[in-house]
Symmetry: C2
């Protein structure tokens, strides 16, 4: 089970009732946060989720609206008596930027670990899921992220019996392990069906559409994607500021064959995102106008 | 006319529905902000007041909850196309702290001017009012502030006539100016009554009660004062953390002979400040439990 919550939908500045864009996910007792603008900690409280299990905080880039809430969040996590380390992941410059902000958040009771992204793509294994950062295209170095929970093939005991594999090895094979024994070498493919559909969520903001984004978002259950502007007359501004139109995000969703698209990171000038959904839905029917604290619990399609 | 708005009432961390403690005032087209925590810019928007005329931002001290919203506010002021300088005032270290935070708010379209407080008291003349900073007692260097709009004596034309002062000098005398003329030297006291009651607001947070606080708050129309704890059993904590009980703030208000006390900077553990007002009101009847966005327009007592 993967819980996904879009904590806010504002771009550039927080507004009353529209917090800055950030994503929080929960999986197996561990929580992940992507971006942390001014007010993100309030949104987490509003959702009723806990700061305490946040062990990883990723940043797309270091414009104020994506990181200004970090010192406050870390202070609040300290007040919530966290002592376990927190891993921060973001583009080059992460440690410098964060240490600079920490001038107002000193004496945290937990250590920070920094991972600076350098390549075009970088993959991490985090508490049972795979986190992948991938470069997107903004006016500063900026990354999108996917969270993937892979799922192996179904275990067929009848195959194990047929192949005379002793029952004490079944569990390890079922979990994808090759087992070397005096009775012979047993490999998972001997007892497992083909890999099943896992879970996948992609988050990207502050970017133009790119081939890499389409590729990385491929077949996501949810693509949470910036749509800074809905109004057709803002196209030139979207190009200039390196943001996306609703319709461009819809095209990415369509090309990436995702299940669902959640738009977010609205311009403060965009008062009623709902008014601009029609054209986006023409391109990709399953487009939703993201709302603050919108959430979903994703479960594996095949129950057993 | 002096508009006063308590933007938030939370201490330590912002909560849903309870923004961090900060004060905004408006006088003669110029606005002043004291403290700027995470979310202060959202509170200003909620109140419907404008960022644009904020020309002075004061800090009591540099704990995160009093300054974490500065980069975001400055960015939003920049987006609102401010180009006039903004003056920042605060304890020693101001420029270092602010420049450190500005790593996420670069390229502001207006200059910042820094005034670092050093003495126990320091007075500034700002666009028609007097701003005074005074040291209070916290676990780091911390200042309270008063805003005073002085009012001269009433002008008596009959006195001017009696003393044969030509009418062309009346206006300057009325505004407190001494006028040297071929007809003689005329001083304001020749035509003015005794100085009348002006307006005064005092703001202090993160302090124990002190004699200096009582003295500086003397005869304020409104004293906005921290009351971190209401519960009698929190007294030891108030002493340890160098904060105030509601009843201690009430004693300050009584000793300073203010008109009204607004409590603020509540501990996140204090869910219902209203429940602890009785003991404070016993000491100082005109004690109000501050609420987010509570505001008042102060006018001179004597209309003419």
């Amino acid at each position: 089970m993967l819980d996904v919550c879009l904590l806010g939908t504002s771009g550039m500045m927080p507004l009353p009732g529209r917090a800055l864009t950030a994503l929080m996910t929960r999986f197996g007792g561990s929580s992940l946060l992507i971006d942390c603008g001014e007010g993100t900690q309030v949104a987490i409280r509003q959702k009723g989720w806990s700061f305490h299990p946040i062990d990883t905080i990723c940043f797309t880039h270091y414009h104020g609206d994506h990181i200004s809430g970090l010192p406050g969040l870390l202070l609040s996590m300290g007040n919530a008596e966290r002592t376990e380390p927190v891993t921060l992941i973001g583009p080059k410059g992460l440690e410098k930027v964060v240490n600079s902000l920490l001038i107002i958040a000193q004496g945290l009771p937990f250590p920070l670990q920094f991972i600076e992204l350098t390549g075009r793509e970088q993959e991490f294994s985090v508490n049972g899921y795979i986190l992948r950062a991938f470069r997107v295209s903004h006016n500063v170095t900026c990354y999108g992220y996917t969270i993937e929970i892979p799922r192996g093939g179904k275990f067929f005991p009848e195959l194990a019996k047929e192949k005379n594999i002793p029952v004490q090895y079944w569990n390890r094979l079922q979990h994808g392990e090759t087992v070397e024994t005096p009775d012979g070498v047993f490999t998972p493919d001997m007892v497992l069906g083909p890999p099943r559909k896992g879970l996948k969520v992609t988050y990207c903001t502050d970017t133009r559409p790119t081939a890499g984004l389409v590729e990385n978002a491929s077949k996501s259950d949810i693509l949470i994607c910036e749509g800074m502007y809905g109004e057709p007359e803002k196209r030139a501004k979207a190009l200039e500021k390196k943001h996306m139109m609703f319709t461009e995000a819809a095209k990415v969703a369509k090309d990436a064959e995702v299940q669902e698209l959640w738009l977010t990171h609205y311009s403060p000038s965009l008062l009623y995102p709902q008014n601009y959904m029609r054209d986006a839905k023409k391109i990709f029917a399953n487009t939703l106008a993201g709302k603050d604290l919108m959430s979903r619990t994703l479960e594996f399609a095949e129950k057993e």
